[in-house]
């Protein structure tokens, strides 16, 4: 088993392009993800064609009283260009008693944003009305009631969670790619005949599979670890100190993905077909499992059901649980169990298919 395991590593190191691509891509990918950490809040550029600069900045102060959104000053030309080039989805136009949203494309945040701006406008309107009809000066709005929101844990109390989920989801998604692409090697070994050569050697099949699969698992674990290390030390994203929990989740996730790989290798016969199948499987799994957008926005029951079947969903859930909610292993049993169970089922079916395929091939 270790001989096979070691050989796969030697082979990996014999292909410098592959190795460099592998490491380089991880680095670049994570770096881009890290760009993800640049902005903490959603910024909305504002412009006005009727208000003076002073009035505009008064409005900005009023709008920026709450910290959910950040309104910044801009002008129509810049905003127009940004939206046209798809660099922004929307902008806010301010006027004395009206506002105008300039929208290029819909965004998940926009309905909350409109609600927020509209409320402020209606409050201002009402205050003005009252102060006019009673002939009193400016009314100070007191804060008699305050809403305080807290997360269950300290880490959960930041505004970073959505982005954290994206970073974690993307890292896992990326590792799915690497693992599946590397596993194409299994199909290639069958084509070149080295696989057969190993079968009629005294090496048992169990050991042969174990050696191969362990290799892919380790590559996957290393890649995710590398990504997390870069994020932690070069970018400064805190992942907490639940190393054990994070480790267990990563290993279980990678196991499930390697099993998925076995299923694919059993189902799809040629490396050429895998080139097409892998991205489709990886991407649809990521979409269904909520790596691209939060699953809460999905209301279709079929999709929600399918999401339950996606290993990546449990991977994200487990990682978020360990990092943000400070959960211990026993509290993470659900995602861990789901990952292991999926892994075992897929592995079983996958190996069976692989064996059936090879039964129809002679030397």
């Amino acid at each position: 088993m270790w001989t096979v395991f070691k050989l796969q590593w030697i082979r990996l190191f014999k292909q410098p392009t592959l190795l460099i691509t592998f490491l380089g891509m991880t680095l670049v990918f994570v770096y881009f993800l890290a760009g993800a950490q640049g902005e903490q809040t959603i910024t909305i550029p504002t412009f006005s064609e009727t208000l003076s600069q002073e009035e505009q900045s008064d409005w900005l102060d009023r709008l920026n009283e709450e910290e959910t959104f950040e309104f910044i000053e801009s002008d129509y030309e810049t905003v127009y260009e940004d939206i046209r080039m798809n660099e922004r989805a929307f902008a806010l136009g301010l006027e004395e008693d009206r506002y105008q949203f300039l929208i290029g494309r819909e965004d998940m945040e926009i309905s909350t944003l409109i609600q927020y701006v509209n409320q402020i406008y209606s409050e201002e309107q009402r205050l003005e009305q009252v102060s006019e009809s009673f002939g009193i000066g400016e009314i100070n709005v007191g804060s008699y009631i305050l809403v305080e929101t807290t997360g269950r844990t300290e880490a959960a109390s930041s505004n970073e969670i959505y982005r954290m989920a994206v970073v974690v989801g993307m890292s896992l998604y990326f590792s799915v790619y690497s693992i599946l692409y590397l596993m194409t090697n299994l199909v290639e070994e069958k084509q070149t005949g080295t696989w057969q050569r190993l079968i009629f050697s005294p090496l048992t099949k169990t050991r042969l599979y174990a050696g191969q699969l362990l290799h892919y698992m380790l590559v996957g674990v290393l890649q995710i670890t590398l990504a997390l290390l870069i994020l932690r030390y070069l970018v400064g994203i805190e992942f907490g100190t639940n190393y054990l929990e994070i480790g267990v989740i990563i290993i279980c996730f990678v196991f499930a993905i390697v099993s998925l790989g076995m299923l694919l290798m059993g189902l799809v016969g040629s490396p050429q077909q895998l080139q097409v199948v892998i991205p489709i499987v990886a991407t649809s799994m990521a979409m269904l499992g909520g790596a691209f957008w939060p699953l809460e926005v999905v209301s279709n029951r079929i999709l929600l059901f399918l999401a339950e079947l996606m290993p990546i969903k449990y991977g994200i859930q487990g990682m978020m649980g360990a990092v943000l909610q400070d959960r211990t292993l026993s509290q993470l049993l659900e995602p861990i169990g789901a990952l292991i169970l999926t892994g075992i089922i897929l592995m079983g079916v996958g190996i069976n298919l692989m064996e059936r395929v090879s039964e129809n091939q002679s030397i």
Binding site: T21, R105, I145, Q275
Partner: protein, 424 residues
């Protein structure tokens, strides 16, 4: 040349599974997208009502009793106490809030579950049974009354405890609570300032604004956005898929045979480019066509739009063709399928990410978006979006020119890399 293209197309049509994968599988993704995001539109998005725990402090009767005591202690004349007490009861925010939370309109989103103790509620939160815990603490009303009536520096704090700070359910609960709090603060302030003169009125539901787009066209929906995103990503995947077929040809010595037949190596490369272009174009056509027929993605656009769409798709197909020939060169040069397959596959994913296929990247950083506009898929995606936003061709053309430039550069590199001697 034509015979080569014919051969490539023929091989693909013969192996039906390959063709299905290349042309139709992206459609599966679009279907997922359509079902997941199809109803996520600007004005409304549906979310199933989710349970939220509510923990109330003292009962209102108890608080009113305490309040009377407070009034007495303040030396309020006995005969005004009942008046102030009933005033207090009328404006008790605790009552208003629980009425609000059980209101039909709110109930569409939030389903209130009352818990007796904070501990029970938090446990339910940890178990994932409720999306958040709203706590109205003991003496909440009293604090507000004190502040409003006696101008004391006190605040009633409604606390909301959630699992994740930044997800959709949290946003909804928080928005319901803070809307209420803002409104109360506003009305109470007005009442104080006008000494009860102004009639309390709920904020009007008037819209003080409008939503406009840059041109007359509708804004782009999330579904349209992702359709384009997935479309450009999978078109890009065509390139490594075809390049790996070129490698297979080399393995089967077809390549060598072609080379010794005095065919120019560039003809071989050119045929790969054209096959890539044709297949990508078909792929995009099927994708946009089927998606419009089934999900109505691009319904209602005029003929002119479709012609422009075709032109853009052609430009994009050409750049994918150029990438195909580049990857073919790399594959034949390095004599390995794996590295270019891996490279192609992973690079495509990276490009797709930066280009905004998965999620609008500008919400991460604008720099990322600007980089994205320099990837072939990102630039084309922006161009498609511009077209759908109703810009005319003259405003779109800079990006298309950029893509055409990339096509030329890629072609030059692929010709340079193409192994002209090694035929083994």
């Amino acid at each position: 040349m034509f015979s080569l293209i014919k051969k490539d197309t023929l091989i693909l049509t013969r192996s039906r599974s390959d063709l299905t994968e290349l042309l139709l599988m992206p459609f599966i993704l679009i279907a997922i997208l359509g079902l997941a995001l199809g109803n996520l539109t600007l004005s409304e998005f549906t979310i199933n009502a989710f349970p939220v725990a509510l923990v109330q402090g003292q009962s209102i009767d108890r608080e009113l009793e305490d309040w009377e005591e407070v009034l007495e202690n303040r030396g309020v004349p006995d005969d005004t106490i009942p008046l102030l007490t009933s005033q207090a009861e009328a404006m008790a925010p605790g009552i208003q809030l629980s009425t609000l939370l059980n209101d039909d309109e709110v109930a569409e989103w939030i389903q209130v579950v009352e818990y007796a103790s904070n501990e029970d509620a938090l446990e339910a939160l940890d178990e994932g049974e409720v999306a958040g815990v709203i706590t109205i603490p003991d003496g909440f009303n009293a604090s507000v009354w004190n502040a409003v009536m006696f101008d004391e520096d006190e605040t009633g704090v409604i606390s909301l405890e959630v699992q994740n700070f930044d997800n959709v359910t949290t946003d909804i609960i928080r928005s319901v609570l803070s809307t209420y709090a803002n409104q109360f603060n506003l009305e109470a302030s007005i009442a104080v300032a006008t000494e009860g003169g102004a009639e309390a009125s709920g904020l009007s539901d008037d819209n003080y604004g409008e939503i406009t787009t840059l041109t007359a066209a509708d804004p782009i929906s999330s579904f349209q956005y992702y359709t384009i995103g997935m479309g450009v990503m999978f078109a890009l995947h065509t390139a490594p898929a075809l390049a790996s077929r070129a490698f297979k040809e080399k393995k089967q010595h077809v390549f060598g045979r072609l080379m010794i037949s005095r065919m120019s190596p560039l003809t071989f490369l050119g045929s790969k480019m054209i096959s890539g272009t044709i297949i990508t174009f078909l792929q995009l056509g099927i994708l946009f066509g089927l998606s419009t027929l089934i999900f109505g993605t691009l319904r209602g656009y005029p003929l002119r739009f479709w012609i422009d769409l075709g032109m853009l798709s052609l430009a994009f197909s050409l750049v994918v063709g150029a990438i195909t020939s580049l990857l073919t060169s790399i594959t034949l040069y390095s004599n390995s399928d794996a590295s270019s397959g891996f490279f192609g596959g992973i690079l495509v994913t990276l490009f797709a990410f930066v280009g905004g296929s998965f999620t609008p990247v500008e919400q991460f950083s604008e720099a990322l978006r600007s980089i994205g506009n320099w990837t072939p898929n990102g630039a084309m995606m922006t161009a498609y979006l511009q077209l759908m936003q109703g810009f005319n061709m003259s405003e779109i053309s800079p990006l298309v020119t950029r893509v055409a430039g990339m096509t030329a550069v890629l072609l030059v590199i692929s010709v340079g890399l193409f192994p002209k001697r090694r035929l083994d």
